[in-house]
């Protein structure tokens, strides 16, 4: 049994640092996600030109690019442990909950880095009306939390399947649709100057519910 101290903040912090270090060694996930985001944005921008007067399309494109660029990498944190046969060792050193929280924090950080590159690039390449920064960043932040919480949990399930990566998009997208719907609707609303309270509540509630469910479920994830 993991002791009480192993699920403490120190264990979470150690897992987060370990994730960052092993990601930084290869930068495989980061490179793939960033290049995917840039390639998709280039393709879209090249195909449709500037969409400055269509905030509805811009909002949808922004989130679709973010979603697909980050999806594969978000499952990667667990797939890496299974493929490297390091999961058992990891489980000996920390409780499932602290592993999960550490990996969730890493995924959040990862998403923030992707967004730091992809969002400005998206705005520059596709254009758009001026942003309402407060609302836009709130939607982006809450959307990222809900996305990371959901994808981390589904990624932990997927890592134990046959043919891991192939199934992840198919299995995670249906449960990510509320996030996508809320985030797109919120981004569109802030461009037209409308309030985004309903969307923020949706995203916050979804993120919180998913996080709560994760904490309940992680103990059941690894048993053999």
């Amino acid at each position: 049994m993991p002791s009480a101290s192993s699920s403490s903040a120190a264990a979470v912090w150690a897992i987060l640092r370990k994730e960052c270090r092993s990601e930084w060694r290869t930068r495989y996930g980061l490179n793939a996600a960033l290049l995917f985001a840039i390639a998709t944005l280039t393709a879209v921008s090249f195909a449709v030109g500037r969409l400055g007067d269509r905030p509805d399309l811009l909002a949808a494109l922004l989130w679709i690019v973010l979603l697909f660029a980050s999806l594969a990498a978000l499952a990667h944190t667990f797939v890496r442990e299974v493929e490297g046969h390091t999961l058992t060792l990891l489980r000996l050193t920390a409780s499932p909950t602290s592993i999960a929280l550490g990996k969730l924090l890493f995924n959040l950080l990862f998403l923030a880095v992707i967004e730091l590159v992809a969002v400005p690039l998206d705005l520059v390449l596709l254009g758009g009306p001026p942003l309402h920064w407060g609302r836009f960043l709130a939607v982006l932040a809450l959307g990222s939390v809900a996305l990371a919480a959901t994808a981390t949990l589904v990624g932990a399930i997927i890592a134990q399947t046959r043919g891991r990566g192939a199934l992840f998009a198919a299995v995670s997208l249906p449960v990510l649709l509320p996030v996508l719907a809320g985030a797109v609707s919120g981004t569109r609303a802030q461009w037209s100057g409308a309030p985004v309270g309903a969307e923020l509540r949706l995203l916050a509630a979804y993120g919180a519910a998913m996080l709560g469910m994760s904490l309940l479920l992680y103990d059941h994830l690894w048993e053999e």
Binding site: V171, L177, A205
Partner: protein
Amino acid sequence: MLLRMLLFAWIAASLIAGFLWAPLVPVLGDTTRVFYFHFPAALLTCVAFGWSMLHSVLYLARRDLGHDAQAAGAAELGLLFCVVATLSGSLWAKAMWGSYWNWDPRETSIFFLMLIYGAYLALRSALDGEARRARLAAIYSCVAFVAVPFLIFVVPRLYFSLHPEPVLNARGKPDIDPRILLAAAAMFVGETGLFAWMLALRVRVARLARAREVA
């Protein structure tokens, strides 16, 4: 055997009642009859998926593979009824709204439900070892349990709906002819019996397959 004959006779009788005894709704005309397929199937989809989730949670709590067979069987059958509800609704939409599909919120939610349970079954097929399959599928079912209320109740509120009001409307009393309601309710009872029978078969097959593997 007798029970099964009774079940089929009951469903046939409710259908006949729906077509011959219950009146047509003025504006809807002949398309009223889609209701006897659409509404019970949609309701039963919710019952089946709810049943599946309940047994997933029970599996995680008790680790009895019987619960897993119930959860998997209910998800498969729920998907079947979900397809019936979607197709019948789509045909009705073509007749009344002029197109088979236009992402009306109700269409969107039922489509999401189909996606989630399609993903659930795809996930099951990719997992080795029955205990692990049961456990991880149950976990995914709990994840879906968080998503489904959002997909059904919250996300559609972001959009405008053309779907007829639920049977019990805001004033709390049914608007439609009681005969239509009675025929649809009878159909629902019959289909629930059908569901229970098929689920029992499915669970029995799963138990036999497991017994053969053990032997």
